[in-house]
Symmetry: C2
Subunit: 409 residues, 2 copies
């Protein structure tokens, strides 16, 4: 029995293979280029027309209704975290590719059924691992992030996203020649909700809010030996206190917030020099925006006060407040109906993680469909979803897209 989805996922897992089952395929890296080149080949082989836009988003369009300017988009992202799994993002792109292929074939068999076109999308730098903020390509497409600002984002080595895209040959000049009317994204869940509920399909109704803060702690360099303890202005000690304060505030609030501090740069980062400058990235997530914002405010107050006691100044390098997002209700209802028609157990849920669908909802009705992930593992090479579960997601995606391209309006 052919296993096209499984074979594609296996083939793409070779691009940036981390040797542990997962992938390290940072946006606009050579591994990303290899995956993009293969996707371009897969798109062309299926007779779809390839477009690469100025922020590197890739599209593979099937013209199902030549008289229509409308297009339904389906996709996700091929970039990954440094400790990425093989399904995160790639599943949505590759299942999307097969769904477009299946619908193009069905459309040929049922002439006139399709009332609009369909295109696959691979969005640039969804992860935000190499360039912050995340959801870059989809935000540019949605019009909420200016192209030039996105191209000017710089990685830790000072390379801009524009330069990196040019270097791998994906700073395009094309534009998808259709008006997008809907977007659907299939993704592995990145938490344990579906597994715990023994559900096949998650229909995402909304997303949690997130406050993403980047703080710079500025002290002064001094010798770690003879400098009297009271004279030190230790930026790393201040950052450690802030990390502690983050978890303490979240635990004291006991409102179910998810918080994290996962990235830190230390200067000069020598064992013998009291750190003079530390930048740290913090996230606070909650299903209510007001709670995330207030928690962030209390954390900031604590972090600044703790730093001041050490003679360390705190400046806010970034403060990104992502509101909750309500995804398109008719789209969710449609996907739910499809799952029911296919005899699958579907659950309406929220997403805590960011997804391209959330960025795109700012421009057009967007839908997000999850399949379970074993143990809820994500951004981990052991991320895993079995083939039957992946195939169920593909079935729901394909039928949902078919109904969208054939619907009267």
């Amino acid at each position: 029995m052919p296993r096209p989805l499984h074979d594609l996922i296996t083939a793409f897992a070779a691009f940036g293979d981390s040797g542990e089952g997962g992938v390290a395929r940072l946006a606009a890296s050579s591994a990303d280029r290899a995956a993009r080149d293969r996707l371009a080949q897969e798109i062309r082989q299926r007779g779809l027309s390839l477009t690469v836009d100025p922020i590197g988003n890739m599209f593979g369009a099937a013209v199902l209704a030549p008289a229509s300017r409308e297009v339904v988009l389906v996709g996700s992202h091929l970039d990954s975290q440094p400790t990425g799994g093989r399904y995160d993002g790639a599943y949505g792109v590759l299942a999307g590719l097969l769904a477009v292929e299946a619908i193009a074939a069905r459309s040929l068999a049922e002439p006139g059924a399709a009332r609009r076109n369909l295109a696959l999308a691979n969005w640039t730098n969804e992860e935000g691992a190499r360039f912050q903020p995340s959801l870059t390509g989809s935000a540019v497409y949605a019009g909420s992030l200016p192209l030039e600002a996105a191209r000017a984002l710089r990685d830790a080595d000072g390379v801009s996203l524009g330069e990196a895209l040019a270097a791998i040959g994906y700073r395009g000049e094309g534009e998808l020649p259709f008006d997008p009317v809907r977007y659907v994204e299939l993704h592995v869940e990145q938490g344990p909700v579906l597994e715990q509920a023994s559900a096949d399909i998650g229909i995402v109704a909304a997303a949690w809010a997130a406050r993403k803060l980047s703080l710079v702690f500025e002290g002064a360099p001094s010798h770690t030996g003879p400098t009297p303890m009271a004279r030190r202005r230790d930026a790393l000690r201040a950052a450690a206190r802030a990390i502690d304060a983050l978890y303490a505030e979240a635990e004291a609030a006991a409102v179910g917030a998810h918080v994290s501090a996962a990235r830190l740069t230390v200067f000069p980062n020598s064992p013998n020099v009291v750190a003079s400058r530390v930048q740290a990235w913090f996230e606070l997530r909650h299903e209510e925006a007001a709670v995330a914002m207030a928690l962030g405010a209390r954390f900031l107050t604590q972090a600044v006060a703790a730093a001041r006691e050490l003679g360390v100044e705190v400046t806010i390098a970034a403060d990104e407040c992502r509101d909750t997002v309500a995804l398109d209700m008719p789209g969710a209802a449609l996907a739910h109906a499809v799952a029911g028609d296919l005899g699958l157990r579907a659950l309406t849920m929220k997403t805590v993680a960011g997804h391209d669908a959330l960025a795109l909802q700012k421009r057009l009705p967007a839908s997000l469909i999850f399949v379970p992930s074993r143990g809820g593992l994500s951004h981990n090479p052991n991320e895993f979803t079995d083939e039957p579960a992946l195939d169920k997601g593909l079935s729901v995606l394909t039928e949902t897209l078919w109904r969208m391209v054939t619907a009267p309006a």
Copy 2:
């Protein structure tokens, strides 16, 4: 009036000039090569014979007593921290150069007075900023660190010290053709003791003990969003707790220990992935070795317990216990007498910081002489000592060395 010491210090501050008054001249970097090339030129111009040994130590020997195999060594280091001042290390090398020059001239004027030879030394990687541990070249010369182990030390990019020395042309093959009988090092103090005491000269009798620990915190990567808080195994949170525990233990003990955590590496260091691996470097210093060791033990217990609560394992990557060092008493007495003869206020003191003299004391009698440093600033571009104070140190050094090379035994 000629200002040879000032002119030399200014000239050498150009090598690795950090643009803030200080230098960033990491061991075996291109800036270090430039400083070494200039030192080689200065050595040759003064008619001294240049030797570069297999770990890159540079020597400039003045043959004052051809019949003797004995040599008195004087020196310090030209490498710096990333946030180094222009005096730390360079002062001792350049004052040493002028002292050797002056003594060679005086020896010509007083034939037969010198009973042994004199050589300048520039020791490799004193700072330990690029390669850990510090005091590398002097420890190899003293016989306490095997040459091959020193050459195999790797920097954060995986470059070995041996490779780095070869790349700048300073992995030598020479050997200083004399038996060292004494070592004298002149250095700026790196704390506020002399300034507070209004003393001109510090005669270092002994060094504090230090325990230097490098710990690896091993958790698991996961998504910073949907992963339930209780399922995370957060290596960065564990490291932050350890940093907190370090200061808490030192403050609770209230025994005057100096402690620090100044270097940290985070993997994968992405804002969206709970850190799976963090390595942190800790130092605990006290004038009694037993106190530093016991404090280190209590810190380790706390750090491991705090990490376990988070599901994070701790392994010890390095645990370097540096005992107190008593420097040579007759050498200290001689320097004290010289300072008195020159009408200078000398203070007997201890050093908290490591110095090449401490490494060399394991092989031969070593002496360490300090001059004040404004505000005790060190490893900071604003490190400063005024010219008269620097000249006083040079005078004490020169006369001390003269008495050492002319002493009967």
